[in-house]
Symmetry: C2
């Protein structure tokens, strides 16, 4: 039952679109990730995905619109919904999703991270 | 796919130890709650529970120690572990936990909230 400090954890990794696990509960993972630039269009067959902005802001492209998610805001992307995160400047995001979730969902490319590190 | 602003949501309810639901995903709820004063000792038989401090700080009493959780920090209380949140001043907390979670766990008293409101 460790107290988890997000700022400390965010200082432990520099990379973009490289999520790290910070907690697990009820089969779900809590992850931290830094976005900068465009991610890949993808969807998750079986997993809803929550994005909560800790610092900065980013755009979530959906097939019919784009929404901006700012510091202190969150969005839930339901399973099956295609989405693409995109950030002009670095943004720090907390993810809450099932432990089974692959970052690029139904797509596998150079951005896919199969074995996530705990920090 | 609404963008959820935590500050807006926190402005919608004044009460302490009166959690409100702001999102649902994968059978889990995201809730906001304000703590002030002592809660009741309890545990959750089947649910791990995550507490993330949005504003302020609080103490989590455990049977063998007390930990302080400050703004930007989180703690996961595993199922079956007795705990009591306690706050000298009002603190704003985000909870992640299964939709089945009762706030007072294995205890039912005047602090029990059976039907949580969505805000």
């Amino acid at each position: 039952m460790e107290v988890i400090n997000l700022k400390d954890k965010l200082g432990k990794f520099p990379g973009h679109y490289d999520p790290k696990i910070i907690a697990e509960l009820n089969g779900q993972h809590v992850k931290l990730v830094k976005f900068k630039g465009d991610f890949v269009w993808h969807s998750h067959k079986d997993e809803d995905e929550l994005f909560f902005v800790i610092k900065g802001s980013f755009f979530m492209d959906l097939r019919d619109k784009t929404v901006e998610i700012k510091e202190g805001e969150m969005i839930v992307i339901p399973k099956g919904v295609e989405h693409r995160p995109r950030a002009d400047e670095e943004v720090h995001v907390l993810l809450f999703e099932p432990a089974s979730t692959l970052n690029t969902g139904d797509v596998e490319n150079e951005m896919t991270k199969k074995e996530l590190e705990w920090i």
